[in-house]
Protein backbone atom coordinates (compact mmCIF):
# COMPACT_ATOMS: atom_id res chain seq x y z
CA UNK A 1 0.00 0.00 0.00
CA UNK A 2 1.45 3.34 -0.99
CA UNK A 3 1.10 6.27 1.42
CA UNK A 4 -1.08 8.00 -1.20
CA UNK A 5 -3.55 5.15 -1.21
CA UNK A 6 -3.49 5.09 2.58
CA UNK A 7 -4.46 8.74 2.75
CA UNK A 8 -7.12 8.37 0.08
CA UNK A 9 -8.70 5.38 1.82
CA UNK A 10 -8.62 7.16 5.19
CA UNK A 11 -10.36 10.05 3.48
CA UNK A 12 -13.04 7.75 2.10
CA UNK A 13 -13.60 6.22 5.55
CA UNK A 14 -13.83 9.66 7.19
CA UNK A 15 -16.27 10.80 4.51
CA UNK A 16 -18.49 7.73 4.98
CA UNK A 17 -18.45 7.95 8.77
CA UNK A 18 -19.28 11.65 8.57
CA UNK A 19 -22.17 11.13 6.18
CA UNK A 20 -23.69 8.30 8.20
CA UNK A 21 -23.33 10.44 11.32
CA UNK A 22 -25.23 13.22 9.57
CA UNK A 23 -28.12 10.92 8.77
CA UNK A 24 -28.23 8.76 11.91
CA UNK A 25 -27.23 11.06 14.80
CA UNK A 26 -30.23 12.78 16.34
CA UNK A 27 -28.41 15.60 18.09
CA UNK A 28 -27.92 18.71 15.96
CA UNK A 29 -24.41 19.40 17.24
CA UNK A 30 -23.37 15.88 16.29
CA UNK A 31 -24.85 16.43 12.84
CA UNK A 32 -22.82 19.63 12.42
CA UNK A 33 -19.66 17.82 13.56
CA UNK A 34 -20.44 14.96 11.17
CA UNK A 35 -20.65 17.34 8.22
CA UNK A 36 -17.24 18.70 9.18
CA UNK A 37 -15.81 15.22 9.37
CA UNK A 38 -17.21 14.29 5.98
CA UNK A 39 -15.72 17.51 4.61
CA UNK A 40 -12.28 16.66 6.01
CA UNK A 41 -12.56 13.25 4.37
CA UNK A 42 -13.17 14.82 0.96
CA UNK A 43 -10.26 17.23 1.46
CA UNK A 44 -7.97 14.34 2.38
CA UNK A 45 -8.93 12.43 -0.76
CA UNK A 46 -8.32 15.56 -2.81
CA UNK A 47 -4.85 16.14 -1.36
CA UNK A 48 -3.93 12.47 -1.64
CA UNK A 49 -4.89 12.38 -5.31
CA UNK A 50 -2.57 15.34 -5.96
CA UNK A 51 0.45 13.08 -5.82
CA UNK A 52 -0.15 10.79 -8.73
CA UNK A 53 3.41 9.53 -9.22
CA UNK A 54 5.64 9.00 -6.19
CA UNK A 55 8.70 10.60 -7.82
CA UNK A 56 7.31 13.84 -9.20
CA UNK A 57 6.33 16.77 -6.96
CA UNK A 58 2.60 16.88 -6.14
CA UNK A 59 0.18 18.87 -8.26
CA UNK A 60 -0.47 22.25 -6.53
CA UNK A 61 -3.99 22.72 -7.92
CA UNK A 62 -5.80 20.33 -5.49
CA UNK A 63 -4.09 22.04 -2.56
CA UNK A 64 -5.39 25.41 -3.74
CA UNK A 65 -8.83 23.85 -4.15
CA UNK A 66 -8.74 22.34 -0.66
CA UNK A 67 -7.78 25.72 0.82
CA UNK A 68 -10.83 27.21 -0.86
CA UNK A 69 -12.90 24.29 0.35
CA UNK A 70 -11.74 24.84 3.94
CA UNK A 71 -12.79 28.48 3.77
CA UNK A 72 -16.22 27.42 2.53
CA UNK A 73 -16.48 24.74 5.24
CA UNK A 74 -15.54 27.19 7.99
CA UNK A 75 -18.17 29.70 6.83
CA UNK A 76 -20.85 27.03 6.58
CA UNK A 77 -19.99 25.67 10.02
CA UNK A 78 -20.15 29.18 11.47
CA UNK A 79 -23.63 29.68 10.03
CA UNK A 80 -24.74 26.25 11.28
CA UNK A 81 -23.44 26.96 14.78
CA UNK A 82 -25.11 30.38 14.83
CA UNK A 83 -28.44 28.77 13.93
CA UNK A 84 -27.87 26.01 16.48
CA UNK A 85 -27.15 28.57 19.20
CA UNK A 86 -30.26 30.49 18.26
CA UNK A 87 -32.33 27.34 18.66
CA UNK A 88 -30.89 26.22 21.97
CA UNK A 89 -30.39 29.57 23.73
CA UNK A 90 -33.57 31.38 22.76
CA UNK A 91 -36.49 29.07 23.38
CA UNK A 92 -38.90 32.00 23.66
CA UNK A 93 -42.16 31.56 21.74
CA UNK A 94 -42.39 33.93 18.84
CA UNK A 95 -45.31 34.55 16.49
CA UNK A 96 -45.40 32.67 13.23
CA UNK A 97 -44.13 34.54 10.18
Amino acid sequence: MTPTLNYALTGVVLFSVGLSGLFFCAHLLRKILSVNMAGSGVFLVFVALARRQPDVPPDPVPQALVLTGIVVAVSATAVALALFRRLTHEPAEEPHG
Binding site: L22, V35, A38, F46, A80, E93, E94, G97
Partner: protein, 507 residues
Amino acid sequence: MPVTHADACLVWPIVAPLATALAAFVLGGRWSTRLGVAVVPIVVAATAVVTWRVWHHGPQTYSLGNWPAPLGIELHADGLSCAMLLMSACIGAVVSVYSVGYFEGSTTASRGQPQKDTGAQFWPLWLMLWSALHALFLSADIFNLYVTLELLTLAAIGLVVLTGTRAAVEAALRYLLAALAGSLLYLAGVALMYGAHGTLDIASLGRSVTADASLQAALLLMMVGLMLKTALFPLHFWLPPAHGSAPAPVSALLSGLVVKGSFYILLRLWFDVFPQEFTRPLTLLPAVLGAAAILWGSMQALVADRLKMLVAYSTVAQLGYLFLVFGLARPGSDTGFAAWSAVVLFALSHACAKGALFLAAGTILHVAGHDRIRDLPAVSRRLPTTFFAIGVASVGLMGLPPTAAFVAKWTLLRVALGGGHIGLAVVIVLGGLLAAAYLFRVLAAAFTQPGVVDTNVSYRKVPRWMEYSTLGLALVSLLLGLASYPVIELLRIGSPWSPPIVQEAAP
Protein backbone atom coordinates in the same frame (compact mmCIF):
# COMPACT_ATOMS: atom_id res chain seq x y z
CA MET B 1 -7.95 32.54 -27.37
CA PRO B 2 -7.19 36.28 -27.28
CA VAL B 3 -9.29 38.12 -24.73
CA THR B 4 -11.21 40.98 -26.23
CA HIS B 5 -12.76 43.84 -24.40
CA ALA B 6 -16.24 42.71 -25.40
CA ASP B 7 -15.90 39.31 -23.73
CA ALA B 8 -15.53 41.14 -20.44
CA CYS B 9 -19.30 41.71 -20.51
CA LEU B 10 -19.57 38.26 -18.90
CA VAL B 11 -18.37 39.59 -15.55
CA TRP B 12 -21.05 42.28 -15.19
CA PRO B 13 -23.98 40.07 -14.17
CA ILE B 14 -21.74 38.80 -11.34
CA VAL B 15 -19.85 41.93 -10.32
CA ALA B 16 -22.73 44.42 -10.35
CA PRO B 17 -24.87 42.70 -7.68
CA LEU B 18 -21.79 41.63 -5.68
CA ALA B 19 -20.35 45.14 -5.42
CA THR B 20 -23.77 46.55 -4.58
CA ALA B 21 -24.30 43.86 -1.93
CA LEU B 22 -21.08 44.88 -0.19
CA ALA B 23 -21.95 48.58 -0.39
CA ALA B 24 -25.47 47.91 0.88
CA PHE B 25 -24.06 45.88 3.77
CA VAL B 26 -21.60 48.60 4.76
CA LEU B 27 -23.96 51.55 4.42
CA GLY B 28 -27.04 49.72 5.72
CA GLY B 29 -30.37 51.34 6.60
CA ARG B 30 -32.26 53.11 3.84
CA TRP B 31 -29.23 53.01 1.57
CA SER B 32 -29.47 49.26 1.18
CA THR B 33 -32.92 49.57 -0.40
CA ARG B 34 -31.85 52.44 -2.64
CA LEU B 35 -28.74 50.65 -3.84
CA GLY B 36 -30.65 47.41 -4.31
CA VAL B 37 -33.22 49.08 -6.53
CA ALA B 38 -30.58 51.03 -8.43
CA VAL B 39 -28.64 47.93 -9.42
CA VAL B 40 -31.67 46.13 -10.90
CA PRO B 41 -31.58 47.90 -14.31
CA ILE B 42 -27.80 47.40 -14.47
CA VAL B 43 -28.11 43.65 -13.90
CA VAL B 44 -30.96 43.34 -16.40
CA ALA B 45 -28.96 45.29 -18.99
CA ALA B 46 -25.84 43.19 -18.32
CA THR B 47 -27.69 39.91 -18.88
CA ALA B 48 -29.29 41.36 -22.01
CA VAL B 49 -25.86 42.31 -23.38
CA VAL B 50 -24.46 38.83 -22.68
CA THR B 51 -27.47 37.23 -24.38
CA TRP B 52 -27.20 39.57 -27.34
CA ARG B 53 -23.54 38.65 -27.84
CA VAL B 54 -24.21 34.93 -27.55
CA TRP B 55 -27.15 35.21 -29.95
CA HIS B 56 -25.03 36.96 -32.60
CA HIS B 57 -21.53 35.57 -32.04
CA GLY B 58 -22.05 32.15 -30.46
CA PRO B 59 -20.76 30.96 -27.08
CA GLN B 60 -18.48 33.39 -25.23
CA THR B 61 -15.54 32.60 -22.96
CA TYR B 62 -13.63 34.98 -20.72
CA SER B 63 -10.59 34.30 -18.54
CA LEU B 64 -10.59 36.41 -15.40
CA GLY B 65 -7.41 38.47 -15.10
CA ASN B 66 -6.24 36.92 -18.37
CA TRP B 67 -5.22 33.72 -16.55
CA PRO B 68 -6.01 30.73 -18.73
CA ALA B 69 -8.03 27.67 -17.70
CA PRO B 70 -5.98 25.26 -15.57
CA LEU B 71 -5.07 27.82 -12.89
CA GLY B 72 -7.27 30.80 -13.69
CA ILE B 73 -11.03 31.07 -13.49
CA GLU B 74 -12.90 31.01 -16.77
CA LEU B 75 -16.41 32.18 -17.46
CA HIS B 76 -18.40 30.65 -20.26
CA ALA B 77 -21.78 31.61 -21.68
CA ASP B 78 -23.83 29.61 -24.15
CA GLY B 79 -27.54 29.46 -24.94
CA LEU B 80 -28.40 27.52 -21.78
CA SER B 81 -26.47 29.94 -19.55
CA CYS B 82 -28.18 32.88 -21.23
CA ALA B 83 -31.66 31.43 -20.80
CA MET B 84 -30.93 30.88 -17.10
CA LEU B 85 -29.46 34.39 -16.76
CA LEU B 86 -32.54 35.92 -18.37
CA MET B 87 -34.79 33.95 -16.02
CA SER B 88 -32.76 35.12 -13.04
CA ALA B 89 -32.76 38.74 -14.23
CA CYS B 90 -36.51 38.74 -14.83
CA ILE B 91 -37.51 37.13 -11.52
CA GLY B 92 -34.86 39.09 -9.63
CA ALA B 93 -36.12 42.39 -11.02
CA VAL B 94 -39.74 41.65 -10.14
CA VAL B 95 -38.91 40.35 -6.67
CA SER B 96 -36.79 43.45 -6.03
CA VAL B 97 -39.67 45.74 -6.90
CA TYR B 98 -42.00 43.67 -4.72
CA SER B 99 -39.55 43.66 -1.83
CA VAL B 100 -39.43 47.45 -1.68
CA GLY B 101 -43.07 47.41 -0.70
CA TYR B 102 -42.91 44.24 1.37
CA PHE B 103 -40.09 45.39 3.61
CA GLU B 104 -41.05 49.07 3.66
CA GLY B 105 -44.02 48.23 5.86
CA SER B 106 -41.70 46.26 8.09
CA THR B 107 -40.65 49.29 10.13
CA THR B 108 -44.19 49.71 11.46
CA ALA B 109 -44.97 46.02 11.51
CA SER B 110 -47.04 44.09 13.94
CA ARG B 111 -48.68 40.66 14.15
CA GLY B 112 -45.61 38.59 13.42
CA GLN B 113 -44.72 40.44 10.25
CA PRO B 114 -41.05 41.24 9.60
CA GLN B 115 -39.33 43.09 12.39
CA LYS B 116 -37.64 46.39 12.30
CA ASP B 117 -34.56 46.30 10.12
CA THR B 118 -35.41 43.17 8.12
CA GLY B 119 -35.31 45.18 4.91
CA ALA B 120 -31.77 46.38 5.55
CA GLN B 121 -30.72 42.75 6.10
CA PHE B 122 -32.62 41.49 3.08
CA TRP B 123 -30.90 43.51 0.38
CA PRO B 124 -27.22 42.54 0.91
CA LEU B 125 -28.16 38.86 1.22
CA TRP B 126 -30.41 38.91 -1.82
CA LEU B 127 -27.81 40.69 -3.95
CA MET B 128 -25.18 38.14 -2.84
CA LEU B 129 -27.56 35.38 -3.84
CA TRP B 130 -28.14 37.00 -7.21
CA SER B 131 -24.42 37.33 -7.81
CA ALA B 132 -23.73 33.73 -6.76
CA LEU B 133 -26.47 32.47 -9.05
CA HIS B 134 -25.07 34.34 -12.05
CA ALA B 135 -21.57 33.08 -11.24
CA LEU B 136 -22.99 29.56 -11.17
CA PHE B 137 -24.67 29.92 -14.58
CA LEU B 138 -21.45 31.33 -16.07
CA SER B 139 -18.89 28.98 -14.48
CA ALA B 140 -16.80 26.98 -16.89
CA ASP B 141 -15.30 24.55 -14.40
CA ILE B 142 -16.67 22.02 -11.96
CA PHE B 143 -14.87 23.33 -8.88
CA ASN B 144 -16.17 26.86 -9.31
CA LEU B 145 -19.59 25.33 -9.63
CA TYR B 146 -19.05 23.87 -6.15
CA VAL B 147 -18.00 27.24 -4.73
CA THR B 148 -20.93 29.09 -6.30
CA LEU B 149 -23.31 26.37 -5.10
CA GLU B 150 -22.11 26.92 -1.53
CA LEU B 151 -22.32 30.71 -1.84
CA LEU B 152 -25.85 30.27 -3.09
CA THR B 153 -26.75 28.05 -0.13
CA LEU B 154 -25.23 30.34 2.49
CA ALA B 155 -27.02 33.40 1.10
CA ALA B 156 -30.27 31.44 0.91
CA ILE B 157 -29.94 30.31 4.54
CA GLY B 158 -29.51 33.91 5.64
CA LEU B 159 -32.67 34.84 3.77
CA VAL B 160 -34.73 31.97 5.21
CA VAL B 161 -34.06 33.07 8.80
CA LEU B 162 -34.97 36.73 8.14
CA THR B 163 -38.28 36.37 9.95
CA GLY B 164 -36.38 35.16 13.01
CA THR B 165 -39.12 32.78 14.13
CA ARG B 166 -38.20 29.46 15.70
CA ALA B 167 -39.84 27.56 12.87
CA ALA B 168 -37.75 29.48 10.33
CA VAL B 169 -34.49 28.82 12.21
CA GLU B 170 -35.29 25.10 12.45
CA ALA B 171 -36.16 24.95 8.77
CA ALA B 172 -32.98 26.84 7.87
CA LEU B 173 -30.75 24.51 9.89
CA ARG B 174 -32.34 21.46 8.30
CA TYR B 175 -31.93 23.05 4.87
CA LEU B 176 -28.29 23.92 5.61
CA LEU B 177 -27.37 20.38 6.72
CA ALA B 178 -29.09 18.81 3.70
CA ALA B 179 -27.42 21.32 1.39
CA LEU B 180 -23.97 20.72 2.94
CA ALA B 181 -24.34 16.97 2.53
CA GLY B 182 -25.32 17.55 -1.10
CA SER B 183 -22.35 19.81 -1.79
CA LEU B 184 -19.89 17.42 -0.13
CA LEU B 185 -21.14 14.53 -2.26
CA TYR B 186 -20.69 16.74 -5.29
CA LEU B 187 -17.21 17.82 -4.15
CA ALA B 188 -16.19 14.18 -3.67
CA GLY B 189 -17.19 13.63 -7.30
CA VAL B 190 -15.08 16.64 -8.32
CA ALA B 191 -12.08 15.19 -6.45
CA LEU B 192 -12.40 11.86 -8.24
CA MET B 193 -12.73 13.51 -11.63
CA TYR B 194 -9.73 15.74 -11.07
CA GLY B 195 -7.71 12.81 -9.78
CA ALA B 196 -8.48 10.80 -12.90
CA HIS B 197 -8.31 13.46 -15.60
CA GLY B 198 -6.27 16.34 -14.19
CA THR B 199 -8.65 19.06 -15.34
CA LEU B 200 -11.69 20.86 -14.00
CA ASP B 201 -12.79 22.57 -17.20
CA ILE B 202 -16.20 21.28 -18.36
CA ALA B 203 -15.35 21.49 -22.05
CA SER B 204 -12.02 19.67 -21.78
CA LEU B 205 -13.51 17.08 -19.41
CA GLY B 206 -16.19 16.44 -22.01
CA ARG B 207 -13.50 15.70 -24.58
CA SER B 208 -11.15 13.67 -22.38
CA VAL B 209 -13.29 11.54 -20.05
CA THR B 210 -13.12 7.83 -20.55
CA ALA B 211 -15.50 5.34 -19.06
CA ASP B 212 -13.85 3.86 -15.97
CA ALA B 213 -14.70 2.99 -12.40
CA SER B 214 -13.66 6.33 -10.89
CA LEU B 215 -15.88 8.20 -13.35
CA GLN B 216 -18.77 5.91 -12.48
CA ALA B 217 -18.29 6.69 -8.79
CA ALA B 218 -17.98 10.41 -9.55
CA LEU B 219 -21.20 10.38 -11.55
CA LEU B 220 -23.11 8.61 -8.77
CA LEU B 221 -21.78 10.92 -6.04
CA MET B 222 -22.52 14.07 -8.03
CA MET B 223 -25.94 12.83 -9.05
CA VAL B 224 -27.07 12.02 -5.52
CA GLY B 225 -25.61 15.27 -4.16
CA LEU B 226 -27.30 17.43 -6.77
CA MET B 227 -30.61 15.56 -6.49
CA LEU B 228 -30.52 16.27 -2.75
CA LYS B 229 -29.87 19.95 -3.42
CA THR B 230 -32.62 20.13 -6.03
CA ALA B 231 -35.04 18.44 -3.58
CA LEU B 232 -35.92 15.52 -5.82
CA PHE B 233 -38.33 13.11 -4.14
CA PRO B 234 -37.53 11.37 -1.73
CA LEU B 235 -34.75 13.86 -0.89
CA HIS B 236 -37.22 16.77 -0.77
CA PHE B 237 -37.84 16.72 3.01
CA TRP B 238 -36.03 19.99 3.64
CA LEU B 239 -37.80 22.04 0.98
CA PRO B 240 -41.40 22.60 2.14
CA PRO B 241 -40.52 23.89 5.64
CA ALA B 242 -37.73 26.13 4.32
CA HIS B 243 -39.73 27.55 1.43
CA GLY B 244 -42.90 27.74 3.47
CA SER B 245 -41.49 29.64 6.44
CA ALA B 246 -39.33 32.18 4.60
CA PRO B 247 -40.61 35.70 3.87
CA ALA B 248 -42.60 35.79 0.62
CA PRO B 249 -40.01 37.39 -1.68
CA VAL B 250 -37.47 34.87 -0.39
CA SER B 251 -39.79 31.91 -1.04
CA ALA B 252 -40.27 33.16 -4.59
CA LEU B 253 -36.49 33.33 -5.07
CA LEU B 254 -35.85 29.92 -3.50
CA SER B 255 -38.55 28.09 -5.44
CA GLY B 256 -38.08 30.00 -8.67
CA LEU B 257 -34.33 30.32 -8.90
CA VAL B 258 -32.19 28.65 -6.23
CA VAL B 259 -33.30 25.05 -6.83
CA LYS B 260 -32.69 25.60 -10.55
CA GLY B 261 -29.01 26.26 -9.76
CA SER B 262 -28.20 22.70 -8.72
CA PHE B 263 -30.48 21.32 -11.43
CA TYR B 264 -28.54 23.35 -14.00
CA ILE B 265 -25.26 21.76 -12.84
CA LEU B 266 -26.68 18.25 -13.15
CA LEU B 267 -28.09 19.06 -16.60
CA ARG B 268 -24.75 20.40 -17.77
CA LEU B 269 -22.66 17.53 -16.40
CA TRP B 270 -25.04 14.86 -17.64
CA PHE B 271 -25.12 16.04 -21.24
CA ASP B 272 -21.81 17.92 -21.61
CA VAL B 273 -19.36 15.78 -19.64
CA PHE B 274 -20.42 12.20 -19.07
CA PRO B 275 -20.29 9.89 -22.07
CA GLN B 276 -23.58 8.53 -23.29
CA GLU B 277 -22.84 4.85 -22.70
CA PHE B 278 -22.21 5.82 -19.13
CA THR B 279 -25.38 7.68 -18.34
CA ARG B 280 -27.69 5.34 -20.26
CA PRO B 281 -28.00 2.63 -17.55
CA LEU B 282 -28.83 5.37 -15.04
CA THR B 283 -31.43 7.29 -17.08
CA LEU B 284 -34.36 5.57 -15.47
CA LEU B 285 -33.46 6.45 -11.86
CA PRO B 286 -33.91 10.24 -12.01
CA ALA B 287 -36.86 9.92 -14.38
CA VAL B 288 -38.73 7.48 -12.12
CA LEU B 289 -37.95 9.58 -9.03
CA GLY B 290 -39.14 12.63 -10.99
CA ALA B 291 -42.41 10.86 -11.78
CA ALA B 292 -42.78 9.89 -8.12
CA ALA B 293 -42.10 13.52 -7.15
CA ILE B 294 -44.87 14.73 -9.46
CA LEU B 295 -47.40 12.39 -7.84
CA TRP B 296 -46.25 12.75 -4.23
CA GLY B 297 -45.81 16.55 -4.32
CA SER B 298 -49.21 17.01 -5.95
CA MET B 299 -50.90 14.80 -3.34
CA GLN B 300 -49.35 16.81 -0.53
CA ALA B 301 -50.42 20.04 -2.22
CA LEU B 302 -53.96 18.68 -2.42
CA VAL B 303 -54.19 18.28 1.35
CA ALA B 304 -52.18 21.33 2.47
CA ASP B 305 -54.24 23.78 4.49
CA ARG B 306 -51.96 26.82 4.15
CA LEU B 307 -51.47 28.50 0.79
CA LYS B 308 -47.68 28.80 1.16
CA MET B 309 -47.32 25.10 1.98
CA LEU B 310 -49.53 24.24 -1.01
CA VAL B 311 -47.26 26.28 -3.25
CA ALA B 312 -44.11 24.75 -1.68
CA TYR B 313 -45.35 21.17 -2.26
CA SER B 314 -46.29 22.19 -5.76
CA THR B 315 -42.61 23.05 -6.22
CA VAL B 316 -41.67 19.49 -5.19
CA ALA B 317 -44.08 18.22 -7.85
CA GLN B 318 -42.96 20.57 -10.60
CA LEU B 319 -39.28 19.84 -9.96
CA GLY B 320 -40.17 16.24 -10.80
CA TYR B 321 -40.90 17.31 -14.39
CA LEU B 322 -37.37 18.65 -14.73
CA PHE B 323 -35.89 15.25 -13.94
CA LEU B 324 -37.87 13.55 -16.70
CA VAL B 325 -35.27 15.03 -19.06
CA PHE B 326 -32.72 12.42 -18.01
CA GLY B 327 -35.05 9.64 -19.07
CA LEU B 328 -36.30 11.24 -22.26
CA ALA B 329 -33.45 13.20 -23.84
CA ARG B 330 -31.04 10.99 -25.74
CA PRO B 331 -27.76 12.67 -26.67
CA GLY B 332 -27.29 12.87 -30.41
CA SER B 333 -30.93 12.47 -31.45
CA ASP B 334 -33.35 15.12 -32.67
CA THR B 335 -35.99 14.21 -30.12
CA GLY B 336 -33.22 14.49 -27.53
CA PHE B 337 -32.87 18.20 -28.23
CA ALA B 338 -36.64 18.61 -28.22
CA ALA B 339 -36.96 17.04 -24.75
CA TRP B 340 -33.92 18.87 -23.38
CA SER B 341 -35.06 22.30 -24.57
CA ALA B 342 -38.63 21.57 -23.44
CA VAL B 343 -37.44 20.89 -19.91
CA VAL B 344 -35.39 24.10 -19.80
CA LEU B 345 -38.42 25.98 -21.11
CA PHE B 346 -40.48 24.33 -18.39
CA ALA B 347 -37.95 25.46 -15.78
CA LEU B 348 -38.21 29.07 -17.01
CA SER B 349 -41.99 28.98 -17.06
CA HIS B 350 -42.15 27.36 -13.62
CA ALA B 351 -39.81 30.02 -12.22
CA CYS B 352 -42.17 32.83 -13.33
CA ALA B 353 -45.43 31.14 -12.35
CA LYS B 354 -44.17 29.85 -9.02
CA GLY B 355 -42.52 33.18 -8.22
CA ALA B 356 -45.82 34.96 -8.86
CA LEU B 357 -47.76 32.48 -6.69
CA PHE B 358 -45.38 32.87 -3.76
CA LEU B 359 -45.47 36.67 -4.08
CA ALA B 360 -49.28 36.56 -4.13
CA ALA B 361 -49.32 34.30 -1.07
CA GLY B 362 -47.01 36.76 0.64
CA THR B 363 -49.33 39.67 -0.14
CA ILE B 364 -52.26 37.73 1.33
CA LEU B 365 -50.25 36.93 4.45
CA HIS B 366 -49.15 40.56 4.65
CA VAL B 367 -52.70 41.88 4.38
CA ALA B 368 -54.71 39.32 6.31
CA GLY B 369 -52.09 37.99 8.73
CA HIS B 370 -52.81 34.39 7.68
CA ASP B 371 -52.82 32.27 4.54
CA ARG B 372 -55.36 29.57 5.45
CA ILE B 373 -56.98 28.36 2.27
CA ARG B 374 -60.45 27.99 3.80
CA ASP B 375 -60.40 31.62 4.93
CA LEU B 376 -59.40 32.99 1.54
CA PRO B 377 -62.94 34.08 0.47
CA ALA B 378 -62.89 36.94 2.96
CA VAL B 379 -59.54 38.17 1.64
CA SER B 380 -60.19 37.83 -2.08
CA ARG B 381 -62.59 40.81 -2.14
CA ARG B 382 -59.84 43.09 -0.89
CA LEU B 383 -57.08 42.04 -3.26
CA PRO B 384 -58.58 41.69 -6.75
CA THR B 385 -55.26 42.29 -8.55
CA THR B 386 -53.42 39.69 -6.47
CA PHE B 387 -56.13 37.07 -6.94
CA PHE B 388 -56.21 37.78 -10.66
CA ALA B 389 -52.44 37.19 -10.64
CA ILE B 390 -53.02 33.87 -8.83
CA GLY B 391 -55.45 32.91 -11.57
CA VAL B 392 -53.03 33.81 -14.35
CA ALA B 393 -50.08 32.09 -12.65
CA SER B 394 -52.22 28.99 -12.08
CA VAL B 395 -52.91 28.79 -15.81
CA GLY B 396 -49.16 28.93 -16.36
CA LEU B 397 -48.49 26.28 -13.74
CA MET B 398 -51.17 23.85 -14.93
CA GLY B 399 -49.79 24.13 -18.43
CA LEU B 400 -52.87 25.25 -20.36
CA PRO B 401 -52.29 26.66 -23.83
CA PRO B 402 -50.74 29.08 -24.80
CA THR B 403 -48.30 29.01 -21.90
CA ALA B 404 -44.71 27.81 -22.16
CA ALA B 405 -45.50 25.00 -19.71
CA PHE B 406 -48.05 23.74 -22.24
CA VAL B 407 -45.51 23.80 -25.07
CA ALA B 408 -42.99 22.02 -22.82
CA LYS B 409 -45.39 19.35 -21.56
CA TRP B 410 -46.72 18.73 -25.06
CA THR B 411 -43.18 18.20 -26.35
CA LEU B 412 -42.28 15.93 -23.44
CA LEU B 413 -45.46 13.93 -24.01
CA ARG B 414 -44.67 13.56 -27.72
CA VAL B 415 -41.09 12.41 -26.97
CA ALA B 416 -42.28 10.04 -24.23
CA LEU B 417 -44.86 8.40 -26.51
CA GLY B 418 -42.40 8.29 -29.40
CA GLY B 419 -39.81 6.58 -27.21
CA GLY B 420 -42.31 4.09 -25.80
CA HIS B 421 -42.24 5.50 -22.26
CA ILE B 422 -45.94 5.03 -21.65
CA GLY B 423 -45.58 5.25 -17.86
CA LEU B 424 -43.85 8.62 -18.01
CA ALA B 425 -46.44 9.88 -20.51
CA VAL B 426 -49.26 8.94 -18.13
CA VAL B 427 -47.51 10.74 -15.26
CA ILE B 428 -47.02 13.88 -17.38
CA VAL B 429 -50.75 14.05 -18.07
CA LEU B 430 -51.73 13.06 -14.55
CA GLY B 431 -49.39 15.68 -13.08
CA GLY B 432 -51.17 18.37 -15.10
CA LEU B 433 -54.57 17.19 -13.85
CA LEU B 434 -53.37 17.08 -10.25
CA ALA B 435 -51.91 20.58 -10.60
CA ALA B 436 -55.29 21.75 -11.86
CA ALA B 437 -56.96 20.03 -8.89
CA TYR B 438 -54.86 21.66 -6.19
CA LEU B 439 -54.83 25.05 -7.86
CA PHE B 440 -58.60 24.97 -8.28
CA ARG B 441 -58.85 24.51 -4.50
CA VAL B 442 -57.36 28.01 -4.22
CA LEU B 443 -59.28 29.48 -7.14
CA ALA B 444 -62.58 28.01 -5.93
CA ALA B 445 -62.04 29.39 -2.45
CA ALA B 446 -61.20 32.78 -3.89
CA PHE B 447 -63.75 33.23 -6.64
CA THR B 448 -66.82 31.09 -6.07
CA GLN B 449 -67.63 31.28 -2.39
CA PRO B 450 -69.42 34.34 -1.09
CA GLY B 451 -66.92 36.23 0.97
CA VAL B 452 -68.00 37.12 4.47
CA VAL B 453 -66.21 40.36 5.20
CA ASP B 454 -65.39 40.17 8.85
CA THR B 455 -65.45 43.69 10.21
CA ASN B 456 -63.68 42.64 13.41
CA VAL B 457 -60.53 41.74 11.55
CA SER B 458 -58.31 44.65 10.62
CA TYR B 459 -56.56 44.38 7.28
CA ARG B 460 -53.29 46.07 6.49
CA LYS B 461 -52.93 48.29 3.47
CA VAL B 462 -50.78 46.92 0.73
CA PRO B 463 -48.46 49.01 -1.45
CA ARG B 464 -49.73 49.03 -5.05
CA TRP B 465 -46.47 47.89 -6.64
CA MET B 466 -46.49 44.67 -4.63
CA GLU B 467 -49.70 43.69 -6.40
CA TYR B 468 -48.66 44.97 -9.82
CA SER B 469 -45.23 43.30 -9.75
CA THR B 470 -46.91 39.98 -8.89
CA LEU B 471 -49.33 40.37 -11.78
CA GLY B 472 -46.45 41.33 -14.07
CA LEU B 473 -44.58 38.13 -13.27
CA ALA B 474 -47.72 36.04 -13.75
CA LEU B 475 -48.27 37.65 -17.16
CA VAL B 476 -44.64 36.89 -18.13
CA SER B 477 -45.30 33.22 -17.38
CA LEU B 478 -48.35 33.40 -19.66
CA LEU B 479 -46.60 35.25 -22.49
CA LEU B 480 -43.45 33.13 -22.38
CA GLY B 481 -45.41 30.57 -24.36
CA LEU B 482 -45.61 32.95 -27.30
CA ALA B 483 -41.84 33.46 -27.11
CA SER B 484 -41.01 29.74 -26.91
CA TYR B 485 -39.57 29.64 -30.41
CA PRO B 486 -36.80 32.25 -29.87
CA VAL B 487 -36.03 30.71 -26.46
CA ILE B 488 -35.55 27.28 -28.05
CA GLU B 489 -33.38 28.81 -30.79
CA LEU B 490 -31.30 30.49 -28.05
CA LEU B 491 -30.91 27.15 -26.27
CA ARG B 492 -29.61 25.57 -29.48
CA ILE B 493 -26.50 27.81 -29.34
CA GLY B 494 -23.65 25.77 -27.93
CA SER B 495 -25.94 22.91 -26.84
CA PRO B 496 -24.67 19.32 -27.02
CA TRP B 497 -26.95 18.88 -30.04
CA SER B 498 -25.68 21.85 -32.02
CA PRO B 499 -23.11 21.31 -34.79
CA PRO B 500 -19.50 22.23 -33.86
CA ILE B 501 -19.16 25.94 -33.43
CA VAL B 502 -18.33 27.90 -36.54
CA GLN B 503 -17.39 31.51 -35.94
CA GLU B 504 -19.79 33.47 -38.12
CA ALA B 505 -19.94 37.16 -38.82
CA ALA B 506 -22.74 39.16 -37.26
CA PRO B 507 -25.49 40.00 -39.74
